[in-house]
């Protein structure tokens, strides 16, 4: 049987969604005997611990320290290594957020093993755990196993669904003290620039999204016009919000908003995993000049062509 340790992540004063997905996945695997969560921070709220229990954690180990207010690699690695020492898990897993992807490989190095990343499934074959990672723009599936007594993995953002009605109980809570030194803070936190979320795209039924292929701020007009005609919202990739072609609020994906519209039109978007992981659309239509663009693997319909030629025609036909 496999004892597992999950890196408990906090986002916006709550347990981060993908972490709940990981817990849910682990509860489905019969080989997993126990789910322990490592929860680190300055303040740790009881409601977070309760939530983790509801979603399947039998134990939560907390490390509270002002130094852990914001994630930084060294202090977090130090604290989680301590937790690993006392819990002796066979599997250490984190949701594949920026922090999760930063932490897990570091922990693995300290145990002399490699790690499986961006997995979208775990299967147990006898006593072995197999990790499933989609590769080559989701055209192929690589299944790996990790040799050694302890295995490390990160999940792909959005890979595991979150149980809306979890039935777990209250977890045992243990707290641990970790002392930090100046050396742990060679990288210093300055600030987090939160993207302003002025528009909520979560409930949008139709989204017309533009990527770098749109080509500029003014050129985004066609995306706006089409969205208006369809009674929908606009969306964008991080490549566009990074250069301020469009407001940050419209970023969709792992680090932007998660959306689940009936229709998603992706124009000039290559289909990076970090972008598509935020989209659960009933129908996805892609327009891209590159026939080999990954977005076509995720699309239900597509046109290989220049968006600045295709979209105006589409607009005209829909109006007419």
């Amino acid at each position: 049987m496999v004892k597992s340790l999950v890196f408990g992540q906090i986002r916006e004063d709550n347990i981060e969604e993908n972490t709940l997905g990981v817990l849910n996945k682990l509860t489905e695997i019969s080989e997993i005997s126990e789910i322990v969560v490592a929860l680190l921070g300055h303040e740790i709220k009881d409601e977070w611990i309760e939530k983790l229990g509801k979603h399947g954690a039998s134990k939560v180990i907390t490390v509270k320290a002002p130094e852990l207010e914001v994630y930084l690699s060294r202090p977090y690695v130090k604290a989680v290594l301590e937790i690993i020492k006392i819990t002796e898990p066979k599997l250490v897993i984190a949701a594949g957020t920026v922090y999760g992807e930063d932490l897990i490989p570091r922990l693995a190095v300290h145990h002399g093993v490699s790690c499986a990343q961006r997995i979208n499934d775990i299967s147990s074959v006898g006593v072995e755990l197999h990790f499933h990672t989609p590769v080559r723009d989701d055209q192929a599936m690589k299944v790996t196993k990790i040799e050694g007594t302890i295995k490390f993995a990160t999940s792909r953002a959005g890979a595991f669904f979150v149980n809306e009605n979890p039935t777990g109980g209250s977890p045992n809570v243990e707290s641990l003290d970790v002392t930090f030194s100046e050396d742990d803070f060679l990288v210093k936190h300055i600030e987090i620039k939160k993207a302003e979320r002025t528009v909520n795209l979560k409930d949008a039924k139709v989204i017309v999204a533009g990527g770098r292929g749109v080509g500029g701020k003014e050129q985004f007009q066609i995306i706006r016009e089409l969205a208006e005609i369809l009674g929908g919202e606009i969306g964008a990739t991080r490549a566009c919000t990074d250069v301020h072609w469009i407001e940050e609020t419209y970023e969709i994906g792992q680090t932007g908003q998660s959306v689940s519209p009936d229709l998603y039109i992706a124009a000039g978007i290559s289909g990076a995993p970090q972008h598509v992981s935020g989209i659960k659309a009933k129908t996805l239509i892609a327009i891209n000049t590159d026939e080999g663009a990954a977005i076509f693997n995720f699309a239900d319909y597509g046109i290989v062509g220049d968006l600045h030629v295709i979209l105006p025609i589409l607009k005209q036909k829909l109006q007419g």
Partner: protein, 266 residues
């Protein structure tokens, strides 16, 4: 100041190799090989500092698949020199083994200040390499950087974060992995660079030159065992329109959507 950039040469995603065929080296020709776009972001990071602070930039590529092309392009972009690590015994699908090769490469190079590398490694399909290298060297690191500023104590770096961007300060010796951002948008090769690249003598180091054997960095040493690699069979076919005039393509799409009873509009 000395900067080392580790780059990855990958099979262009533009090649028409689908699914598992993409990973079959016998199907790949030299023309299909390009620098990982994420590695180009790392090159740009180093070259910006070269412009600003006069750094020396050494580019290193560990690959069995004829890496010289990538290295010459990196020199043509502005790197000072290049080192090729070419040894078929090195198992590059495991980020931990690759990190070991990088550590020994840095050891052989000697003094350095900064290491730049890609945020996303394609061969290993992972983000792990920067974190692993940092841990193995015991050096501070910032991953998924999107912007960088030189400050007195080192660098102020902004990196990707869910819901925004995080700004940190790091010392002048460390590791930075770079994302696809405006700041790290790669420059083109220059005419002068292309000429320099043509003349450049690129040394080739093997695992043995780095004091490494296949029991340390070969397939037999990996803890990440590939159980299978198979094509994903999609439940539904996608309808991609490639042929025709733009107007015909749009009409074709609208007709198909109508046939499938897909409603356009909220």
């Amino acid at each position: 100041m000395k900067i080392i950039v580790f780059i990855e040469q990958i099979v262009s995603t533009q090649v028409k190799l689908q699914g598992v065929d993409y990973f079959d080296p016998s199907r790949v020709s030299e023309d299909d090989l390009i620098i990982n776009p994420s590695s180009k972001n790392a090159l740009e990071g180093a070259l910006k500092l070269k412009d600003q602070l006069g750094a020396e930039v050494t580019v290193v590529c560990v690959r069995g698949l004829k890496p010289n092309k990538a290295l010459r392009e990196a020199i043509a972009m502005g790197c000072t020199d290049a080192i090729e690590i070419a040894d078929e015994t090195i198992y590059t699908d495991d980020p931990l083994l690759l990190a070991k090769v990088y550590v020994e490469t840095l050891e052989k190079i000697g003094e350095f200040d900064l290491v730049f590398l890609e945020a996303e490694e394609q061969a290993t399909g992972s983000y792990a390499i920067g974190a692993m290298l940092s841990e193995k060297l015991g050096l501070p690191s910032v991953l998924y950087a999107e912007e960088l500023e030189v400050i007195d104590s080192g660098y102020k770096v902004g990196h990707v974060l869910e819901g925004g961007r995080k700004i940190v300060a790091m010392p002048s010796k460390g590791i930075i992995s770079c994302s696809d951002s405006q700041y790290f948008t790669p420059r083109y090769t220059s005419m002068r660079g292309i000429l320099t690249a043509k003349r450049a003598v690129i040394p080739t180091w093997t695992a043995a030159d780095l004091g490494l054997s296949s029991s340390v960095v070969g397939k037999e040493a990996t803890s990440l065992i590939e159980v299978s690699l198979s094509n994903i069979v999609l439940e539904k076919e996608s309808y991609i329109i490639k042929e025709g005039e733009p107007e015909e393509k749009v009409e074709n799409l609208l007709a198909k959507l109508k046939e499938d009873e897909v409603k356009l509009g909220a």
